[in-house]
Symmetry: C3
Subunit: 289 residues, 3 copies
């Protein structure tokens, strides 16, 4: 069971996930799927994904991400936030298929609400956010990257990035689509999303799904250099500008959040979709074996 949902069950009056966490941490140890290192002098935090083997965005992982984001938003010394991975070769494999296969509708609904919450926080994050893409970055991993203000990708041809949902027989929801259109434009999104394209670094740069490609050993220093450039701008002016730019896209989900959950639950519960996911999961198992 997810930390936050367990916490909400324990503390039904609690509204803020951070407040929940504060009370809960005394009771149990964190699972540490997410590690945050803060450089207070620079005002920059680095959030590292540590959910082996592939940083899958399980309900627990999504919940930890949300809780850590809320904590950092409330820490006035932190102005910038860098996302990266501690799992070799993988930034994040995206949404966790095991949270979308063989569960009941209540679980699907809880999972989807958490994924929405993560996107809403990331896309409206008042901090400067930079993705240091040091590994494979499909689907939900790509979504996290695209919410950032800037994307630096390691120049390793094994790493690819994109919303490849259709290749798995599923459909990216409209707010994934909106985020992609905002990043690479409408026409490139038509091709990218329908074909479920995964771009290696050079192509990713050309289509604009990442902003910079650097040698793999320079990806962290490059992200820090970008961060320094963005932190040179007064926070309040930058934050208001970011909010103004992203508000219509955010409102688009907020307006129809419940309907989106219902649609996800209904779609993912279909026999044909469950069968497709089963086949895909079996294929993954055979690959490993």
């Amino acid at each position: 069971m997810a930390l936050a949902s367990r916490a909400r069950a324990l503390l039904p009056g609690a509204r803020s996930w951070g407040a929940v966490l504060a009370r809960v941490t005394a009771q149990r140890a964190m699972s540490h799927r997410v590690v945050v290192e803060t450089d207070a002098a620079a005002g920059v935090a680095v959030m590292k994904f540590r959910n082996p083997p592939v940083n899958s965005l399980s309900l627990e992982m999504v919940t930890e991400l949300v809780i850590n984001l809320e904590k950092l938003e409330n820490d006035k010394t932190v102005r910038g936030l860098i996302f990266t991975s501690e799992s070799p070769g993988v930034f994040s494999s995206g949404l966790n298929l095991l949270d979308m296969y063989g569960r009941n509708p209540a679980h699907y609904a809880e999972y989807w609400k958490a994924v929405q919450e993560l996107w809403l926080r990331l896309y409206q994050c008042p901090m400067v956010t930079v993705a240091t893409i040091n590994g494979a970055c499909p689907a939900g991993g790509c979504l996290i990257s695209m919410t950032c203000d800037y994307r630096v990708m390691a120049d390793n041809p094994k790493y690819t990035i994109g919303l490849n949902e259709t290749q798995l027989g599923i459909v990216a929801p409209f707010w994934f689509k909106d985020t992609l259109v905002n990043t690479i434009g409408y026409r490139a999104s038509e091709i990218s999303l329908q074909l479920g394209l995964l771009y290696p670094p050079a192509e990713a740069l050309r289509v604009g799904i990442v902003d910079k490609v650097v040698p793999e050993d320079q990806v962290h220093s490059a992200a820090l250099a970008v961060m320094a450039q963005w932190l040179a701008i007064p926070d309040h002016a930058r934050q208001l500008t970011k909010a103004m730019l992203r508000k219509p896209t955010v409102d688009n989900l907020v307006r129809q959040r419940d309907a989106d959950i219902q649609q996800f639950v209904s779609f993912i519960s279909r026999d044909s979709i469950q069968k497709g996911l089963q086949m895909y999961l079996q294929m993954l198992k055979q690959k490993k074996a």
Copy 2:
């Protein structure tokens, strides 16, 4: 008189153009302005324009296109559809000026409704659609191409593509504009649409109004290769993704379809516009002579 409108007059209760066709074909021979060849094994149909000399989109031609589209949509063995021309050097010259000049308002309204219907079917087509642009492709010809999922153009400098309406003193309607903006972006559309630009292949590729330019003798094989790539994606995921991407643009016309017809009829009936078209038609006649 158009086939379908004649059919509707004969069979007033009929809602579906395909159903109309099915009952009517027993009574009269098709005019065959459109030829459809289906490769059932590959699941791909090729729709060839054969309305000499320039594949003008007359009311009859538009009606045949709509009827054939509806038939293919109902044929579950067909997953992909390629458009091309059998008229040498011309993909399609676009809307038929003779349906917009010297007729009465009822005719203009009937014509415009049919053109709307064609666009609505093409833009929402559940099949993968590829335009094989093997000739000149102005105005309405460009519109048909832009509704496709992918555009392959023959590398012949005599062929150009674009919405050149302003050059004729007329105005592309908002849904032509929306389709162009979706294809090449807003700013390029401002220049393209105001100046009525016709792009030769290299420029067309650069501005993004086509996706691929190949030597003329390879245009059909290139289209088939593209089709194979798109058919590798599960249909239902691709179809839902396409519908999600295009729905806002479709809704924009559906919401104001009648108003758009009235505006077209009112605009095209103006003395100044009729005089402009007359001059243009005379110029075309002198060119031929």
Copy 3:
């Protein structure tokens, strides 16, 4: 006090700023911050900014621009309008900080309404408009340029163009943002607007915030050549096309014009913003000294 506001005070029933001007010009001399030269044979007017030292968009300057625009719109012999500067090295420094610092709310409101009026007229201008950017072009100067149908920039690395508001700790309003997004797209606007980027000519061309860069001594002839190309299109078709393309962006401001004024007044009146502007003005003074 601004010419038009003085005029409106004198003639409260007057609706049209042009009508006001016509009655007022008998009473006082024009200040000539804007000089208009018309080539009646070519149908082209050139509007020259002459508000030394930096063509700051003071309330007086904005008012004169609006009045001159209205006069030209009513002059049926003028089909095209070129904007350029007579101040060496500066196209326009943008909004006048002295109209935004140390004044009362009524002044801020009057100023903002005039700036809105200027943008509304420029963005909907029925004439072909070309910006000849022969000097520095930040903030409001960039906004004026972006309303034009085409932008030609002199290839001088000292000249830069962009919406650099965040660098000053202030925020470009949503209609500045909309104009930028229409010009360079959403993603480039996210970077450009948050960082307050000022682009030198080559970068300005690459990002698409200008359309052509030419040697400085050819900037005027290049603008005339562009104008000739655009004037080859029938006016009424081009005007209807322009209006159709820009209407949603215009409507976006028209719908919330009063709210936008109130938001500007409230924002600019904040102590923190006033203090920031004071520091910036002192820095400018020290630079001069």
